[in-house]
């Protein structure tokens, strides 16, 4: 494996998207196991009663995924450009390639599925565009979306894993007493040979020593940069070590970012690398408890991502009946679910932070003040019963658009409706939602 920018196709360490360290099925236990490097998934759990206890993983793409089973591979027969959503295989495709399967492989974003299949033409359409170009002859893996039921993750430490834990398809699982850590995504950095500052736009243009192999045309991508030995005058005014710099593609050996307002002077040396991405991602999560974890990954995208799976077709971002209690972290922010029906699925207690520590892609330190009256159980249509059951007497939530039913500010214990501006705690009394806080 080479460093970023090594130019070796398919070896962009640690963006491994094939290897699985340990696959744990029914009542299988991994205990006191350490994995290091080059895994797409270090520990994959599915079936009933699998457990990962006292383990650790260092460097890789995904530390633990709840809900994964082995699939099958098919080789592409044509190259595809970055961002492409159609993949070409030798025709005809096997009959087992059907819409809905999870698609994985090199440069295929996690949580991508098959939208449609043309068996005769040998093509599939996937739900997310490729994160970079895919050469002909690349393996693409297809797997059935399979839950982990009654599985446990406990006592795990992750370090330098792009996504520490994924609740990809978790039902009645327990995630407790884990410590998810890491600052730098890849231990090897890639050198700059130069950097210039534009006095008009304040944009800094860097020149990489080797082709950076970042996706052509990208913009606003978070990277970790070191300039002139650390806290750099080449950085934006708010920048400090381990913060992310949002960069834009220029060509194979150049990218830019918004630099300081004043002339930073002479460039001497610098380097770049990828950041970590997430501590915890939640895709399909049901009846699951996340308790007493330390989530302190310096994550560029989100500390906790509640919107995982939303880009699949149809959306796989479905949550119900979960608790999230006593977890430390969220310094990189929480990414709320774009489908707000999912909000009632989570009970939060003693968790979240007031302010973010890092300039990650999301800006919410918690989900307080995010829910509306329309998001309460029973207030939205749920014909298949996949979202939070309710309303149930005793259920309580915080909403941000409350008002007294009929209009005006609600006092205790007035019946509450939506459409207002009141940040209320509401309780269902068996008939109505009433203000209780």
């Amino acid at each position: 494996m080479g460093p970023p920018g090594s130019g070796v196709a398919g070896s962009l360490y640690p963006f491994c998207e094939y290897g699985v360290g340990y696959y744990l099925g029914n009542n299988c236990v991994a205990q006191n196991v350490r994995t290091q490097g080059a895994n797409w998934i270090a520990f994959a759990l599915s079936g009933r009663g699998a457990a990962c206890i006292g383990c650790s993983c260092e460097v890789g793409s995904i530390g633990v995924r709840f809900g994964w089973v082995p699939g099958f591979n098919v080789l592409t027969s044509a190259s595809a450009v970055a961002g492409a959503t159609t993949l070409q295989f030798s025709a005809p495709l096997p009959g087992s390639v059907v819409a809905g399967l999870i698609v994985s492989g090199w440069n295929i974003p996690d949580s991508t599925n098959i939208v449609s299949v043309n068996q005769g033409a040998g093509t599939i359409v996937i739900s997310s565009g490729l994160s970079n170009a895919l050469p002909s002859g690349s393996y693409v893996t297809f797997t059935v979306d399979t839950p982990a039921i009654g599985c446990v993750l406990e006592g795990l430490q992750t370090e330098a894993v792009l996504t520490a834990v994924e609740l990809f398809n978790a039902e009645a699982c327990l995630v407790q007493a884990n410590v998810l850590t890491g600052v730098v995504g890849i231990p090897w950095t890639q050198e700059f040979t130069g950097a210039t500052w534009n006095s008009g736009s304040h944009v800094v243009t860097v020149t990489t020593a080797a082709p950076h192999n970042l996706r052509p045309g990208f913009s606003n991508v978070p990277l970790l940069l070191q300039m002139n030995g650390g806290l750099s005058e080449f950085a934006p005014g708010t920048w400090r070590e381990n913060m992310f710099t949002y960069c834009t593609y220029v060509d194979a050996t150049h990218f830019t970012y918004l630099g300081p307002a004043t002339n930073p002077g002479t460039f001497s040396h610098g380097n770049w690398t990828y950041p970590l991405r997430y501590s915890l991602r939640c895709r399909k999560v049901r009846d699951t408890a996340v308790i007493s974890n330390q989530l302190v990954v310096t994550a560029a995208y989100a500390e906790v991502d509640f919107d995982y799976g939303a880009t699949e077709s149809p959306s796989a971002n479905i949550h119900s009946n979960n608790v999230y209690i006593g977890n430390i972290g969220a310094r990189s922010g929480w990414n709320p679910p774009s489908e707000t029906k999912n909000l009632a699925a989570w009970y939060f207690a003693q968790t979240g932070v007031q302010n973010l520590m890092y300039n990650s892609a999301v800006t919410r330190p918690n989900l307080a003040g995010y829910m509306t009256f329309a998001d309460l159980p029973g207030q939205f249509s749920d014909p298949t019963g996949v979202y939070q059951p309710g309303p149930i007497e005793g259920q309580e939530y915080n909403i941000k658009d409350g008002q007294k039913s009929g209009g005006g500010a609600a006092a205790f214990p007035d019946i509450v409706a939506g459409g207002g501006r009141g940040h209320y705690k509401v309780r269902y009394d068996g008939t109505n939602w009433r203000r209780c806080g």
């Binding site: 009542n27 457990a51 408890a289 939070q388 059951p389």
Partner: protein, 519 residues
């Protein structure tokens, strides 16, 4: 020229500098008889016919002359010898007259050995042994036993112990004191494996426990598995138990066909990723003790089940996670005194009880009492008198009240081979099918204090409730939390409900929050 077996020395040319070669010449017999004691070297046959008890005892006696005596822990006279069992079936017990002891002690000085087989399906220690006792102060009914205090089995690995007796109080293996490391073994008996509740630091992993009593049909006069709750509480009467475990780690195991699959008790431990299949109770936390033949609490705190209703031993500081109880009448039962445990991410599944469904010869319908179906069973059903909730599986869906053909139905015992149930409409013709006892509870909790239940999936089709707290003892019910669980709920209608906090629990139709203010 061939070198004689007895004199071949394992010393050859020097490696590297000859002057630095400090290896010591040893013979093959040195290695074979001192490093690893092979029971076949002492006359064991493993042929499944010959009684190998004396030969194995000779090997253990020889092992007692080996090993290491720690300069500080001098009460261990011999420590760490390895006794090896090649593949084979080793007959134990001289026709049921004696057992095999894995412990040795001499004048208060004890030994600790390691017992290693060649695989749990290829190294089998088999016998039929029963004494009617199961107390550490007597001749216990275990086929293999390491019962002398501090005379521990350090390790038991890759072998099976099968006590074919079906007598009450007989069992496969007992190790009174820990720590014992047990890996990849199989235990067959009325009681499979027993370690004392104060056997500190044990580790049992990847083992199978099989009941020597066969799973019977539901109609059997003495059906098995069948958990009987005594008047005292959760004590067992003539019960079979897969494993009784006190303190330590118990993981990746499977118990099949017992009245109770796995019992955990004592202070501190972990039960993880185990499965109980077709048991009366899948997992039991805490137990009640007493020797049914001894009249009470004879042997102290280390008594194991199956025991009568005289004494209790709690379960405190345990984690029960990722376990799976399938087709168990009660999935998880935390009885006696359970304090400060976390029971999370366990699965309880199944749509019928542990016994084999019994045959139904015919089902006929009459208009009596608004519609009545009369069932004639193939054998005498041996049902209790009065009403019983039963699982009926019928050839035509219309023969069950919910028109599913597979559901729990309340039935009236109307004869030795007959029962009836309400059925409003006539499906036509004559029905047939099977009946069985149902799964009653997913999780049942008694005397909880400081308990956490989270993310348990209660998928079993139950006749009473998925989660039940109707039987708490008044002195121990407080500081409990249940979170992220659905299913059906059976709650105590008293002030004890204030000892619980429910978070994300229940469904619209059945939830734990309909509590009167006075409670």
């Amino acid at each position: 020229m061939a070198t004689q077996f007895t004199s071949y020395a394992f010393k050859s040319g020097a490696i590297g500098s000859p002057s630095s070669d400090t290896r010591v010449a040893r013979t093959l017999p040195d290695r074979l008889s001192k490093d690893i004691v092979n029971v076949k070297d002492w006359g064991a046959t493993g042929n499944g016919i010959t009684d190998d008890t004396d030969a194995i005892n000779a090997a253990i006696d020889h092992a007692y002359t080996l090993g290491f005596t720690h300069p500080q822990y001098t009460f261990f006279d011999r420590h760490g010898a390895i006794i090896f069992f090649p593949p084979g079936i080793y007959i134990i017990g001289k026709g049921g007259t004696t057992k095999l002891r894995f412990d040795r002690y001499n004048g208060g000085r004890f030994a600790q050995f390691r017992y290693i087989g060649s695989g749990r399906d290829v190294t089998i220690l088999r016998g039929t042994y029963s004494t009617g006792h199961q107390m550490d102060s007597r001749d216990n009914g275990f086929l293999v036993e390491a019962n002398a205090w501090q005379s521990q089995v350090l390790e038991l690995r890759d072998l099976a112990i099968e006590n074919m007796s079906t007598d009450t109080l007989s069992g496969a293996f007992m190790s009174l004191s820990g720590p014992t490391s047990v890996m990849n073994c199989r235990f067959k008996g009325v009681l499979g494996y027993y370690s004392g509740a104060v056997a500190f630091g044990g580790n049992v992993s990847n083992c199978i426990f099989e009941c020597s009593r066969p799973i019977t049909a539901a109609s059997a006069a003495s059906r098995s598995p069948h958990f009987v709750l005594s008047s005292f509480g959760e004590a067992l009467t003539n019960g079979s138990v897969g494993a009784f475990f006190g303190q330590g780690s118990f993981s990746g195991c499977l118990a099949i066909g017992f009245d109770v699959g796995i019992i955990v008790a004592g202070l501190g431990g972990r039960l993880v990723s185990c499965k109980a299949y077709r048991c009366g109770v899948g997992i039991l936390g805490g137990y009640a003790g007493g020797d049914p033949t001894g009249g009470g609490n004879v042997g102290g705190a280390d008594q194991g089940p199956p025991l009568s209703a005289t004494w209790g031993y709690g379960s405190t500081g345990w984690v029960h996670t990722a376990n799976w109880c399938d087709r168990c009448t009660w999935g998880i039962y935390l009885g006696t005194v359970n304090i400060a445990n976390h029971t999370g991410a366990n699965s309880v599944t199944g749509d019928t009880g542990p016994t084999e469904p019994a045959g139904i010869d015919s089902i006929t319908w009459s208009s009596a009492n608004g519609g009545t179906a009369t069932v004639n069973t193939h054998d005498a059903h041996n049902l209790p008198s009065g009403t019983n909730k039963l699982v009926l599986v019928t050839n035509v869906p219309g023969w069950t009240p919910g028109n599913t053909g597979n559901e729990i139905v309340t039935c009236n015992n109307t004869g030795t081979s007959q029962f009836t149930y309400a059925l409003s409409s006539n499906p036509g013709g004559t029905g047939s099918g099977t009946w069985n006892y149902p799964i009653e509870y997913g999780i049942r909790v008694d005397a909880p204090n400081g308990q956490m239940f989270s993310a348990n999936v209660l998928d079993a089709v139950v006749s009473v409730a998925s989660f039940d707290i109707t039987m708490p003892r008044a002195m121990y019910t407080g500081h409990n939390v249940a979170a992220a669980m659905r299913g059906s709920w059976s709650l105590e209608d008293s002030h004890r409900i204030a000892g619980w906090k429910f978070i994300q629990c229940g469904t619209v139709a059945n939830h734990p929050r309909s509590i009167a203010f006075a409670e």
